[in-house]
């Protein structure tokens, strides 16, 4: 089924749009249908899509992309503090600021390639993180993170005398208003903030699709395949890679802006190397160079972080209550190590399993399953393995 999308972008677009918009319904049975996690899926999906435009197409592995996310967040929160709680100016400023920041860093870093490029981007991001945490506290509010306060000017908004902070909104439509609905014993939550993020995600996905299919995208792929040969033909690849870097940095900035929109706080640890590493993992885990893969990888990691970490022994006992007592305790005491405080362990094991057995990432796994289901012979999978950049 996913294979068919290769030849039909419109079908892919429709499929993606439906899946995203129906997120609150599809994910509710998995315990992930609440606004905060849905928003995170959309935001990190966007972040990973943007990262994939750089890494998936050009092969340049940036290890400092979280810096753009962080800068976008700070820009958005400052907009909320100074100008208005409307999300549009915040999102615009986040995009512009992260774009400029990416242009600066990209211009310098792209003078080197391979791991030297990775380390340059890592160095810039770590510098941003360390400074934001300490010396730049007047701008970033350091450890605590930049927050709204009651006495912020917000010059475009009317004076606020309610004693509580205003919420982010789109021309009056509050981002945290939620409509709830009972269905088959589950509570479905349709949240404005999520749908705003979802629309941006769909737009971002569409843009990425267009880039992948454009001559520009082809040029980027040529950079990945053989940059030397490309330069022998008289083409200067730098403007192309720089454009890809800036675009992908702006995606990160928009994602950062959305984080601030759904939750108006910007913390320095968003820029730490672990955050940059996370988006790399999301992309590789989902499937590098594929369109859907990064979104899938982002969802996967965020699901682990938010759902597995909340399972405690109590929950386990409730799940396995049907087993005889001795067996129940045994099962719980084994699983105990893999959930709750052990969610990192499970995540590490899953990374290893996916990389070992699914070199093309989760998207390859999905392809394999669908192919199996649709009754094709497994023999064809050899041709569709990692050798061919799956799309």
């Amino acid at each position: 089924m996913l294979d068919k999308f290769k030849n039909n972008d419109n079908a892919l677009m429709v499929f993606f749009t439906i899946m995203v918009l129906a997120g609150p319904i599809i994910l509710a049975p998995f315990g992930a249908g609440y606004p905060d996690l849905l928003q995170r899926f959309a935001i990190f999906g966007l972040f990973a899509i943007g990262f994939n435009i750089l890494f998936g197409l050009t092969g340049y592995l940036s290890f400092g992309h979280a810096a753009f996310l962080g800068v976008g967040s700070y820009a958005a929160v400052w907009m909320f503090k100074l100008l208005t709680m409307n999300v549009i100016p915040a999102l615009l400023l986040a995009t512009v600021v992260s774009g400029v920041f990416a242009l600066l860093i990209g211009y310098i870093s792209l003078r080197r390639s391979g791991i030297y490029f990775s380390i340059l981007t890592l160095a810039f991001a770590q510098m941003s993180y360390n400074l934001a945490y300490s010396v730049l506290t007047p701008i970033t509010n350091g450890e605590t993170g930049l927050q709204l306060s009651l006495d912020d000017p917000r010059i475009l908004d009317a004076a606020n005398s309610s004693g509580s902070l205003p919420s982010t909104n789109l021309f009056g439509l509050s981002m945290n208003s939620t409509a709830k609905m009972e269905l088959l014993g589950m509570t479905l939550q349709f949240n404005v903030g999520f749908y705003f993020c979802a629309l941006v995600l769909i737009l971002g996905f569409y843009l990425a699709l267009r880039i992948f299919r454009s001559p520009f995208g082809l040029m980027l792929r040529a950079v990945k395949t053989n940059q030397t040969r490309m330069s022998y033909t008289g083409l200067n690849s730098r403007p192309y890679t720089l454009a890809a870097f800036v675009i992908s940095g702006m995606y990160a900035g928009v994602a950062g802006g959305l984080m601030a929109i759904t939750d108006p706080l910007a913390g320095a640890e968003r820029m730490q190397w672990t955050a940059s590493g996370e988006v790399v993992l999301m992309t590789i885990l989902g499937g590098v160079g594929t369109l859907l893969g990064p979104v899938l990888g982002a969802g996967f990691i965020k699901y682990f972080e938010n759902i597995f970490s909340k399972i405690n022994d109590n929950v386990l006992h409730a799940w396995f209550g049907f087993l005889p007592d001795g067996l129940e305790d045994a099962v719980v005491s084994v699983l105990h190590f893999f959930v709750g405080k052990g969610w990192h362990l499970t995540l590490g094991i899953v990374f290893m399993l996916v990389v070992i057995f699914l070199p093309g990432g989760l998207i390859e796994g999905a392809n394999r399953i669908l192919r199996r289901l649709s009754g094709q012979k497994t023999g064809s999978s050899a041709t569709d393995g990692p050798k061919q950049p799956a799309e």
């Binding site: 905060d36 506290t137 605590t144 006495d151 919420s167 439509l173 640890e269 938010n306």
Partner: protein, 448 residues
């Protein structure tokens, strides 16, 4: 498809505020449910225990979780009742809170503001938690406190020592049981003067972020008032693991006391380096060189091993206290888990009890009712003597312990000994004290 509800009252408010607003879709405006956020409807009430389960403070988080589970057991009438028996307020009956059985959900803060807020949000949005509590750093406490204020649930802060939590970042829905940097300074300074004299020159090493700065400011002010001189204050990056290059120049600076404004892993490493450099064997200005660690945590002090022996610091609570409340708590915790509780465990246990008690006294889970019941609440029997939750800033005022590393520990838990119990009056300050100014509680938010 039974009920469609609006959860945020700001919907209409912001619509009015932003003039160019679209009109509200009508289904948001349904007011079938105008009480407060996550009002417990069934026979149980859910509390959210948000503690670090991964990262450097995972052990403190684990101890907090143990204490929470003990508190839940006691609130539901199980176990020996612990401090419920010694608590001066007798509103709790051991039948849950307001007759509803106490249930809980747990989450991992990772000691990161973002992750902590994500975890707290899932508790509020998904699990219907009516109160969030826990944490092991000030950054997380301030971030989650802000979230709870906006979401309209109560936040009981857990371990947070920065002045800002109840200073410039204070919030109406948040309460802190733990003490703070100012109190550490006020409690320590007289003891230090007594032990080391008033003619001392101090060299500060300070973790380069919010908490470090506020503590350094507090300690420097308190010791300078006793006649000490602050020779130098050097900030160290949070990510430092090897402090040798910061410790090495200390001896040559003319200082005779080293103050380590570090916590957790930073504290262990800087103290270990300082002792390695032999600072404590030196004589400067004709006096023995001394080291001070203003904020102690027994769990963390263990990591520094022998190096803590004889070093002064302050702590919120210690299991060797001999009042009835502390004894009852140590007994029920010790019998359940086999070792004595840490100050983190004590703090969060008290907070769980105090929250439950406030609900009982208010007769509701409504955050505004709870805030009213806790503001200005005076009580005793929870281990620190007579205690008050001050209405102006939601800071808890009680005795502060000055401790020092024990010279001859009898067991691996016997790391600290109590030097002095500094009475509450000595650590108290005005709500608008300059170190705490610039914030406003705002009004309580019931979230609906």
């Amino acid at each position: 498809m039974s009920k469609i509800i609006k959860t945020r009252r700001e919907v209409l408010k912001t619509a009015a505020v932003v003039g160019a607003g679209l009109s509200m879709p009508t289904f948001f405006a349904s007011s079938a449910f105008a009480g407060y956020r996550n009002e417990p409807m069934g026979g149980s009430v859910t509390l959210g225990f948000n503690v670090p389960q991964t990262g450097p403070y995972a052990d403190e988080g684990a101890d907090e979780l143990r204490a929470y589970m003990l508190a839940v057991e006691h609130l539901n009438g199980g176990g020996d009742g612990g401090m419920m028996n010694t608590f001066s307020s007798k509103a709790l009956k051991g039948n849950g809170i307001l007759g509803k059985k106490v249930e809980y959900v747990t989450g991992d803060t990772q000691t990161k503001s973002d992750a902590a807020r994500a975890s707290a949000k899932s508790m509020i949005e998904k699990d219907g938690a009516v109160m969030i509590t826990g944490g092991s750093s000030s950054g997380v406490a301030v971030a989650v406190q802000g979230l709870c204020q906006e979401a309209g649930v109560i936040f009981m802060a857990g371990l947070t020592h920065s002045n800002d939590t109840t200073g410039k970042d204070r919030k109406a829905n948040g309460f802190r049981h733990f003490f703070n940097g100012y109190m550490s300074g006020a409690a320590l300074a007289p003891v230090l003067e007594k032990m080391y004299g008033s003619d001392r020159r101090a060299y500060h090493l300070t973790a380069d972020y919010n908490w470090g700065w506020t503590q350094q400011e507090s300690i420097a002010a308190a010791t300078e008032a006793k006649g000490w001189e602050t020779v130098n204050n050097v900030t160290t990056p949070l990510t430092t693991t090897d402090f040798s290059s910061y410790v090495a120049p200390v001896l040559n600076s003319g200082a005779d006391v080293l103050v380590l404004n570090h916590y957790g892993g930073n504290m262990i490493n800087s103290l270990t380096s300082a002792v390695q450099f032999g600072l404590r064997d030196k004589v400067v200005n004709g006096k023995n060189f001394e080291i001070v660690v203003p904020l102690y945590s027994r769990l963390m002090a263990r990591g520094a091993g022998e190096n803590v022996k004889g070093i002064f610091g302050s702590t919120n609570w210690h299991w060797s206290l001999s009042d009835a409340g502390s004894k009852a708590f140590v007994k029920s915790f010790g019998e359940k888990y086999g070792f004595p509780p840490s100050q983190a465990a004590h703090t969060v246990y008290c907070q769980a009890l105090l929250y439950a008690d406030a609900c009982e006294r208010a007769g509701t889970f409504n955050p505004c009712g709870v805030v009213e019941a806790l503001e200005g609440f005076k009580f005793d029997g929870l281990g620190n003597g007579p205690t008050e939750y001050r209405a102006e800033d939601h800071q808890c005022f009680k005795d502060v312990l000055v401790v020092k590393g024990k010279e001859n520990p009898s067991s691996e838990f016997d790391v600290l000994e109590i030097v002095e119990v500094t009475p509450r009056a000595q650590v108290e300050y005005a709500p608008d004290h300059p170190m705490f100014s610039g914030g406003a509680l705002g009004t309580c938010n019931p979230g609906a």
